[in-house]
Each structure stands twice: as C-alpha cells, then as structure tokens.
C-alpha cells in the first residue's frame, strides 16, 4: 500500500482538518517533545524557499528528529541530470519522511506515488502548498475559536494566488462567506466561483477595497499584488495603491477581526498596522511550525496525545 502523503489540500477532508488542528493546538502548548527521536526527515528543496524550509526544519528539530537534505537544486544531483524518481528512491533509503519543494507542477503527486515513505508537498510550482493552507486554517481556528460560518475577505491577487485558491478549497467544508477584493486584471478565476456556487458558498466581488468588505469580515486575508502579473502597466499604476491596508481602515472593523497574510509582505499592509492587535500575520507564520509538527506526526502515524 502507498504510504499516506499530503500533496493537495483536497487530500484532507473535514475530519482530517480538525484532527490536525487539534494536534497543532497541543504542539503550540508544548512544541518541544521527543516524538521524532530516532527518525530522519529529508528536506528536498529543489527550489529555494528559506521561510518554508526553516519552518519545517525547526518543526522536526523541536521534536528531536534528524534532518538530511539540500536547500537548493544546485547542490543536488539533479544538476547532473538525475531524474526526480531516482532522487526520491535514493533519499527514501535513508529517510522516514520526505518534505519536498520543487519548481515543477505535479512533481509532488508524482514523487508521492513513487516514494515508499510518506511525502509532504512544500510547494510544487504554482500548483499546491497545502501546509500553508493548514497553517492559515489553524490561525483562523485559533483566533476565532471556530472555522464555521465565518466571513472571510480576501484581498489582492486572486487570479494567480496559490494560497488564496487553496484557502477557498480548505474553508469550503465550514460554511464560509467570501468577499473577493481584487483589481479587474487579477479577479478570482471562474473556476473558483463555480466551485463556490457548486457548494452553495455565498460570495461577493469588489474591485474597490471598500469599508464594507473590511467591516463585515472576521478574517481579512491580504495578499501581494505583483507588478509582473499585469499585462498593462498603466493598469498596475492605477491600482497599486488601492489594495493597501492602513491602520485607520480598521477603525470600524469587528472586534474579533484578524488580519492575515501569507508573507512576504511588500507594501500591501502599511507598517502602522503592525502595532494593531488585530494584525496577526507574524503569529500566523509562527503557527506554521506547530501545524507542520502536527502534519508530520499524523503522516508518520505518531500518537501525539
């Protein structure tokens, strides 16, 4: 039988999500446990991503596991022309779990089907990055005490944003209401609107970052509007300052509102928001570690109770 892997957020159902969140809550209370003692985890980063790699490696280190791997394909044998299959087969001789980031889309699904040990997708091109979604869900759960019936306003690049698409998918089990705030060129693809329609998930679309979209929200999920995504630079110049959150814009927001961002942030959240207790993006990033501890133990069949 193939070992269980996490490739796509769709690999998790409602029960799986709740199980991981409960386990992540325990790791947040006590992240230093010897649950991975004697285990070796491989971090194969064919594409560099310092933030994600450090989060995973800290998660393993705090559980007393050992790490092998590489942080850049320049230092792996793929530069010698080795196939992904051969790299996976070789590494699985040594490791009990593989954490992989790769620039090619679908690489994680393929690797998970070859690998005799569980595999976690830490990002495959612009396709999937499920542990980001799980840490987003954990942060929402932690700050709202529930995942059910929340209004989530998502702002910025809704067309290409991988984190956004997976978050919509991940929240779909919990009866959300969405506000999609994006410039014309980067609006939410029809595919995701159809997905929401299909699941009876109500949503509204805004091209203006309006007070209404902020004040009705329980979660304000900001993302970066990247210049290189625009075909028309005039259009970029027009919108680049519209999708920026300033502190005063939060003055009439709900008490329970939290502002999240998958990071790195550039200018879309002004520095003056950082001091507001509703800003939660740095804690969100830290939650990544606890969530990854939960996912790693879950895939390896380790009891965390």
């Amino acid at each position: 039988m193939q070992p269980r892997s996490l490739v796509n957020i769709g690999d998790y159902d409602r029960e799986d999500i709740y199980r991981i969140l409960e386990s992540a809550t325990k790791f947040k209370e006590n992240p230093d446990r010897s649950l991975l003692k004697g285990k070796v985890c491989a971090t194969l980063f064919f594409e560099p991503s310092t933030r994600t790699r450090l989060s995973f490696e800290t998660a393993v280190n705090r559980l007393r596991g050992r790490i092998i791997g590489f942080s850049d394909s320049a230092t792996s044998s793929s530069t010698k022309g080795e196939s992904l299959k051969d790299t996976i087969m070789m590494v699985s001789n040594y490791a009990d779990l593989i954490i992989m980031r790769h620039h090619l889309e679908g690489s994680a699904r393929y690797a998970s089907e070859i690998s005799p040990v569980p595999l976690i997708n830490a990002g495959d091109g612009s396709n999937q990055h499920p542990t980001q979604t799980m840490l987003d869900l954990f942060t929402i759960y932690e700050t709202q005490k529930t995942l059910e019936n929340l209004t989530v306003t998502i702002v910025g690049d809704l067309k290409y944003g991988r984190a956004v698409h997976s978050l919509i998918q991940g929240l779909s089990y919990f009866n959300p209401t969405f506000n999609f705030v994006a410039p014309e060129e980067l609006h939410i693809p029809d595919k995701y609107k159809l997905f929401c329609d299909d699941k009876n998930i109500p949503y509204r679309e805004f091209t203006n970052f309006s007070a209404e979209s902020i004040n009705s929200a329980d979660i304000l999920y900001m993302t970066r509007v990247q210049k290189e995504r625009f075909t028309d630079l005039m259009e970029y110049e027009k919108v680049k300052n519209i999708y920026v959150l300033h502190n005063e814009m939060l003055s009439k927001s709900k008490d329970n509102l939290k502002v999240l961002h998958p990071l790195p942030r550039v200018k879309e959240i002004s520095q003056d928001v950082d001091e507001n207790p509703k800003a939660y993006y740095f804690q969100q990033a830290k939650n990544g570690m606890y969530t990854r501890q939960a996912i790693i133990c879950d895939l390896m069949g380790i009891d965390v109770t």
């Binding site: 196939s83 992904l84 299959k85 620039h103 090619l104 889309e105 679908g106 699904r109």
Partner: protein
C-alpha cells in the same frame, strides 16, 4: 472490378465509420495501424449524408479490445464501429471515453513534471460530454480543442 470489391467488402474485421476528416490519420496513429500486417483500407473525404464528408477505416481480421478502441474517443468521439463476421455486421459499437487516459496525451503545461521527467502522462476525464481532461499531476484542465497527442 475485382479490386473494387476487395475494398468495399470486408469478410471479417472492423469498419470504423464516421470519422471526422481531420481525425483519420490520428486514429491510424492511436490504433497503431501502421504496425499491423493486416489488410487495411483507409478512405477520407468520402461523401456522408450525416457529416457532409467523413473518413472510414476498414481493418481485416482485426477485432479491437475495448481499451484500444476507446483511445480514439479523444479525437473522434462519435465514430461508429462495425464488427463484421462473414460479410455481415454482427455488432455495432460506439466508442466511449474512458475515465482515465494514460500515455496518449501530452500535458499542455510546460512546467508540468510529466513534460520534464521520463514518465507516463496520466489524465482524468472531467467532462465526457465536452471532452475535458485534467492532468493527474499538475491539475491543469485541458479542453478538447487544446488536446495534443504524444
């Protein structure tokens, strides 16, 4: 006259009828007919009441397996298959698009692992009516008119 008869009448074998004219040679490739030693007749741009013009392929002494013949559903979803034994049509079949397509189609996403690694391509058929498929690996959806065969 004798030659004309040879073409027209099939004693035993399969006649694949109502092939869109632009798909005839793709069907030949998909069924690997170039590798067969059997007697094969390929007709194209023939008159058709239904289609205006059509293609037709007759293969003597060959009866395709389901999974072989279903491969052609991708390029010619409405063809008729006539199974002929002893000069009689003993069975008429429609091709059916399978749920999964392995090793026939190329993924349109240049950044897909299947275009960069020696491996079989694999697609799920997400819409049999419209012939829409999705890459098992990179999850890209491909419409009928965008399908590229390997």
């Amino acid at each position: 006259m004798g030659k004309a008869l040879q073409v027209a009448a099939l004693e035993n074998g399969t006649a694949i009828d109502h092939i869109p004219t632009d798909a005839v040679f793709k069907v030949v490739t998909l069924l690997q007919l170039q590798r067969l030693g059997n007697r094969i007749t390929i007709g194209n741009n023939l008159n058709s009441n239904k289609m205006g013009s059509k293609g037709l392929i007759k293969v003597s002494d060959k009866f395709f397996k389901e999974d072989e013949i279903n491969r052609i559903a991708l390029v010619a979803p409405n063809v008729n298959l006539n199974i002929i034994r002893n000069f009689e049509v003993v069975e008429k079949k429609k091709v059916v698009l399978p749920d999964e397509i392995i090793e026939i189609v190329k993924c349109n996403n240049p950044k897909c692992i299947s275009n960069n690694e020696p491996m079989k391509t694999r697609f799920h058929v997400t819409d049999k009516e419209k012939v829409e498929i999705q890459c098992h690996y990179c999850e890209v959806k491909i419409k009928k008119e965008e399908i590229v065969l390997l």
